[in-house]
C-alpha cells in the first residue's frame, strides 16, 4: 500500500518553474520564457515536462518518507546553430544539478537533484528545411522529503 501523500507536487513544479523563469542568463538565451508541455508560437524557450510516474518510500508512520520524480527540462530554439541551445542547456544544468538543496516547496523539502539522462536532438523545420529546431537539456531526478 502506498504511503499517505503529505504534499502537493505542484508546489515543486512551481519551484522548478520559477527557478528557471527568474534566471536572467537563461532568459537571455531563451527570451520567450518557460513553458509546461507545449509552447505554441515560441521560438526560443525552455520546456518543462514531468512524467506522471514517481517513486516513493514510506516512513514508519505510514506517510511518505521520500519521493522522487523526474523532470525533463530542455531548451528549444529555432536555429541552425547549436550554440544557443548548448549554452541554455548548460545554464539549466548550473541551476538544477545539485541545486535547490534544502529549499522548501509547500510541504516538501528538496533533498537532491541530479541529471540522469541528457536530451539532445534536432528537428527540421518543415517550412524551411535549412532551418532546425534544437532540443537540448536533460532529465533531472528530484528527490524530496516532507518538510516537517
Amino acid at each position: 500500500m502506498p504511503p499517505a501523500v503529505i504534499g502537493d507536487l505542484s508546489d515543486v513544479d512551481t519551484l522548478i518553474f520559477t527557478t528557471l523563469s527568474n534566471d536572467a542568463t537563461l532568459r537571455g538565451l531563451c527570451p520567450d520564457g518557460v513553458f509546461w508541455d507545449i509552447a505554441n508560437g515560441a521560438i526560443a524557450f525552455v520546456l518543462l515536462t514531468r512524467p506522471p510516474d514517481a517513486e516513493y518510500a514510506g516512513a514508519l508512520d505510514g506517510e511518505e518518507g521520500w519521493l522522487r520524480v523526474q523532470y525533463a527540462v530542455k531548451a528549444v530554439i529555432k536555429s541552425s546553430s547549436v550554440v544557443a541551445s548548448n549554452n541554455a542547456a548548460f545554464r539549466i544544468h548550473e541551476l538544477l544539478h545539485y541545486g535547490l538543496q534544502d529549499t522548501t516547496a509547500g510541504n516538501y523539502t528538496i533533498m537532491h537533484i541530479e541529471r540522469t539522462i541528457p536530451i539532445r536532438y534536432q528537428e527540421v523545420d518543415p517550412s524551411n528545411t535549412a532551418m532546425k529546431w534544437q532540443h537540448h537539456g536533460a532529465q533531472y531526478s528530484v528527490m524530496m522529503c516532507p518538510s516537517n
Partner: protein
C-alpha cells in the same frame, strides 16, 4: 620446519563471480525482454516504425562479473515522441524511459536478492 604458507579456498572465490552471473543472467534477461515488450505495447501503431524500432541487444562480456542486455528505441522520431516535437506541435509522451527505468530498478532489486542469498551484505545506492 618448512617455510611455506598455503591459503586454500581461493578457487571457490574465483568461481563466485561466474556463479553469481549465471544466476543473475536469466533474471536480467527476463526483465529486459519484458521491458522491450512493454515499450512496444505502449507505443502507438501508426506507421509501425516506433514499435518496430524497439530492439533487444545481448552484449557478451568476457568479464565474469558483468552481464548486459540493452533495450533500444531506434526509430528516428523516438526522441521527439518521448520528449515532444515543436515541428508537429506534439507534447512529450514519456514512454520508453519510465518503462525501462522501472525494469532496471526491478532487475537491480532481484539481483540484490541473488547476491544476498549467496551470503553477502548489500549496501549503497541502487541507482
Amino acid at each position: 620446519m618448512a617455510n611455506k604458507l598455503t591459503i586454500g579456498g581461493l578457487g571457490e572465490w574465483l568461481e563466485l563471480p561466474r556463479e553469481l552471473r549465471a544466476a543473475a543472467d536469466p533474471v536480467i534477461k527476463r526483465y529486459a525482454e519484458d521491458a522491450r515488450a512493454d515499450v512496444k505495447a505502449a507505443y502507438p501503431r501508426i506507421s509501425g516504425a516506433l514499435q518496430d524500432g524497439v530492439v533487444f541487444v545481448e552484449t557478451p562480456s568476457n568479464d565474469p562479473a558483468i552481464t548486459t542486455y540493452t533495450v533500444k528505441s531506434t526509430a528516428p522520431h523516438a526522441a521527439p515522441y518521448e520528449w515532444g516535437s515543436q515541428v508537429h506541435g506534439m507534447r512529450a509522451h514519456p514512454t520508453f524511459l519510465p518503462i525501462t527505468n522501472r525494469a532496471r530498478h526491478a532487475a537491480t532489486a532481484a539481483v540484490i536478492e541473488i547476491v544476498r542469498a549467496a551470503g553477502f551484505r548489500v549496501t549503497g545506492d541502487t541507482d
